[in-house]
Structures are given as structure tokens and as C-alpha cells.
Subunit: 135 residues, 2 copies
């Protein structure tokens, strides 16, 4: 079963409000909601487009993973997320094909979404997230 | 009128066939077609997913724009493309909002698709392409 769709494209920015002045105000995407995520120390803006979403992510501390990424690489595209029907099957296929997972087993977010990241060295340099979204 | 959908996510890779061993063979995306694009000196693999596409792009010369990007930044996410209903209206909104276009006027590909790139300094570091796709 191939992945179903692009769930989101995540962009790391210095400041969510500054980024919204482009993505919402000038480009015209609707802002669905803002999230202040304490566990990952980031603010996130969710902007739906078609069947997917653009996520603008800004760290609010200097020592989180995202903050270090921003300091090292600068603002820009961070990862993409594809939705799959069955995340165990997807992980098994990737591993059988010689791909390397960051999360060898799916993890679960507080909203019930199960996810796992594929290592960029297996994808051609792209941090790839897989989601299994429960209906 | 907000953008309609994510048309594609473009990934720059060293070698399209090597990248297909992950994106097609392990992840399971269908390969729609391969394009040998002489004008931009790149090979492109088009892999549909949902209403959008993943594009794997590899330069076949060393002096193209994409080749220089790859040499400088390494393989990874290159740009995203959002589909809009009216590209002149989108460019006008972005410009009125203080955004800077790489292409101040829409250009036209051989298949009739009209496109324009927004400068990364306006988007939070993301090279953003806009498409107006004729039905």
C-alpha cells in the first residue's frame, strides 16, 4: 500500500508571526490554529492547503533540537510528512529495503496519531515523517 | 483566493535511480514517469502521492543551477510548489504584501503551465514555486 498523501510540509522559521505575514497575509493561506508545544519547545502555526498543511515551526528556547537545527542550517524546509494506511507495514517495507528508521517502532502523539521518522541518509537527504492517522 | 493545494515537493538528489530505490521500491510510491530535461540539465522522476507529487531531481552536468545547489547545500528538500487559481492575482498580493518574487511576471512551461518563484527571503528561507495549471 503506497503512502496516501502529503500530510504536511514543515518549515523552520525564526519567528512564527513574521512568517505568517507572508504565508497567511500575503499568500492568503488560512491559519487553522497556533500551538505552543512545551514538550518540543516550539510554536507551530498550522495552515491548511488542499488535503495537506504547511506548518511553520519556531523554537522558543535555544537548546531544543529545532533550535539547534535553526542555528546550524538556518530557516527553511525542515521535513515532509506522508500519510500511510498502516505504519508497521511501511516501517517493515522500508527496513526490508535497506532503509534506516530514526524510530524503528511507531510512536504515538497525544492526539492518537502514530508516527515514525525515516533517517535522511536513506531518503536522499530528506527528513521524512510517516503518519498513520486514525479516522 | 488562497492557494488550492501542494502541487509538488522537489528533492535534489545525486542520482535519480539511487533515490528511486527508496522512494519507489522501499516506500512504495508509484513512478509516474521520468523526464530528461535538457533545458535545465536535470533528470526528474515524478512520483504521485494523493493530489500532489514528489519530484526527485538530479543534475547531469556540473554547471547548472541545480548542480551548483547540490554542490553547495547537499542533497535534500529543494522547493515546494503550491497551485493557485490565478497567478497574476497571487503575484500581485505577494508584491503588495512586501514579498519579493524571483519572477515578477509569470513564465510559461512547454506544457502550458504558468509558474513563478517567490524569493526565499520573503518566505522564511523556502524557495516557493507557484503554478497556475490550466484544466
Amino acid at each position: 500500500m503506497p503512502p496516501l498523501k502529503i500530510n504536511h510540509v514543515a518549515i523552520v522559521v525564526e519567528d512564527v508571526n513574521a512568517a505568517l505575514s507572508f504565508w497567511r497575509d500575503a499568500l492568503g493561506l488560512p491559519l487553522h490554529h497556533l500551538e505552543h508545544n512545551e514538550s518540543e519547545a516550539v510554536d507551530i502555526a498550522f495552515l491548511p492547503v488542499g488535503e495537506g498543511e504547511i506548518e511553520l515551526i519556531a523554537p522558543f528556547t535555544e537548546d531544543s533540537g529545532v533550535a539547534k537545527y535553526l542555528a546550524k542550517k538556518g530557516a527553511g524546509l525542515h521535513h515532509i510528512c506522508l500519510e500511510v494506511e498502516n505504519i508497521e507495514e511501511a516501517i517493515a517495507r522500508i527496513t526490508a529495503g535497506g532503509g534506516e528508521m530514526i524510530n524503528a517502532e511507531a510512536r504515538t502523539r497525544s492526539d492518537g496519531t502514530r508516527y515514525a521518522f525515516v533517517h535522511p541518509k536513506s531518503t536522499g537527504g530528506v527528513l521524512l515523517e510517516l503518519y498513520e492517522v486514525k479516522p
